[in-house]
């Protein structure tokens, strides 16, 4: 039996996943093969060393510092009611967001009315996705909901550096993190991602509720913008 199969059996043993038959297979292998015994010993030692690391105590004052934050702000329920809490307002926000997308798309797709410094055109396939196509740049954006989280997936192919700017309502939405090669900075209600020339795939993760406004810029010029929305959890 090859080492990969032996290692898989050992790893599954560590996680308590072996069937009775597989356990017997592993036992037989360990009896027959000194290399298997060495691997088994090393994996078990690694597992033991990790399990033996004791939990660290949080620093004194952490809990007080955490609780001081909410004490200074309004309670979360009030914050939401103040903004998008009522279903009617929420619906209105989504409709307005959609109208904004359609309006901007119409404006940008009409080449006669395009401002001279505007490089691209923006289209909306639906509320949860946008696309941009212009000379030297193509971009697609998709907002997905994943439980409590929302993922904004941005796929950009560009011949020049540009930046993606996401804006959200901090009362209902929070930026959680990003994945990809872009340089991402976040402050307040803005997330800014610097995209190098080439093919860039970027994921921005938010918790909370949509809509999220998205702009694509290059050298200070607006290439396109739109609003993305997904249904709330």
């Amino acid at each position: 039996m090859d080492n990969a199969r032996i290692e898989e059996l050992i790893q599954r043993e560590l996680d308590g996943e072996l069937s009775v038959t597989e356990r017997a297979d592993l036992a037989r292998l360990l009896l027959q093969d000194p290399e298997a015994r060495r691997l088994h010993q090393e994996f078990r030692n690694t597992d033991r060393l990790l399990r033996e690391i004791p939990a660290a105590e949080p620093p004194p004052g952490l809990r007080a510092a955490v609780l001081a934050g909410p004490a200074r702000s309004s309670r979360p329920a009030e914050a939401v009611r103040r903004t998008y809490g009522r279903p009617l307002y929420r619906l209105a926000a989504v409709i307005l967001g959609g109208l904004l997308v359609v309006g901007i798309a119409d404006l940008l797709l009409d080449s006669d009315s395009r401002p001279p410094d505007l490089q691209g055109s923006l289209g909306a396939g639906s509320q949860d996705r946008l696309w941009l196509r212009a000379e030297g740049v193509e971009a697609g954006a998709l907002l997905r909901r994943d439980g409590q989280m929302m993922r904004l997936e941005l796929n950009v192919s560009t011949t020049f550096p540009c930046e993606a700017v996401a804006r959200f309502d901090p009362a209902t939405t929070s930026f959680v993190g990003d994945a990809g090669d872009a340089q991402v900075t976040a402050a307040g209600d803005l997330v800014n991602a610097r995209l190098a020339a080439g093919r860039q795939v970027l994921t921005l993760e938010f918790s909370g509720a949509s809509p999220i406004q998205l702009q694509l810029r290059a050298e200070g010029r607006l290439l396109g913008e739109g609003t993305l929305a997904v249904s709330d959890p």
Partner: protein, 180 residues
Amino acid sequence: MSDDVDAARVRECLAGDPRGFAALVEQYERPVYNVALRMLRNPEDARDVSQSAFLKAYENLPNYDPQYKFYSWIYRIAINEALNVLRVRGRSAGPVDDRFPEDGAGPTELLDTDQTREVVLAAVGRLKPEHRSVIVLKYFAELDYEDMGEVLGIDARTVKSRLYTARQLLKDRLATCGVS
């Protein structure tokens, strides 16, 4: 702690009772801090990440869906906050407190328990973030595959694959140091 209890505490908090959030912080302060600490290997950064994670959770409690586990949610926020710190750190300076011996430095047979733990933690700290996060969630948050997948937003099969790779890398590194 049962998910029902967590959901009840969230409801208390949303109803304006601060004791609900205080109870959640008391329950998860230690594990969240440990996840952050093992991801970052720096107590000050871990403290900042823990504080930020709880604050973000508080701000977004109205959007919390009790059908999901609260601890998966708070771990996810903490892991993402830690990854952001690592990303910023990666752009500016090298890893903090990286005392892992260079490869080929020779066996360290005479290490005492504390030194051994330091070597193990340093080896964890040298893993790529995607591998480090599964080790941290497995060994320091004691989550199963399904919960790890929920935290990391990946399926259980990918969790297993990353965990196997991470454990193998650790085994090899520790063997190089004569620790494993």
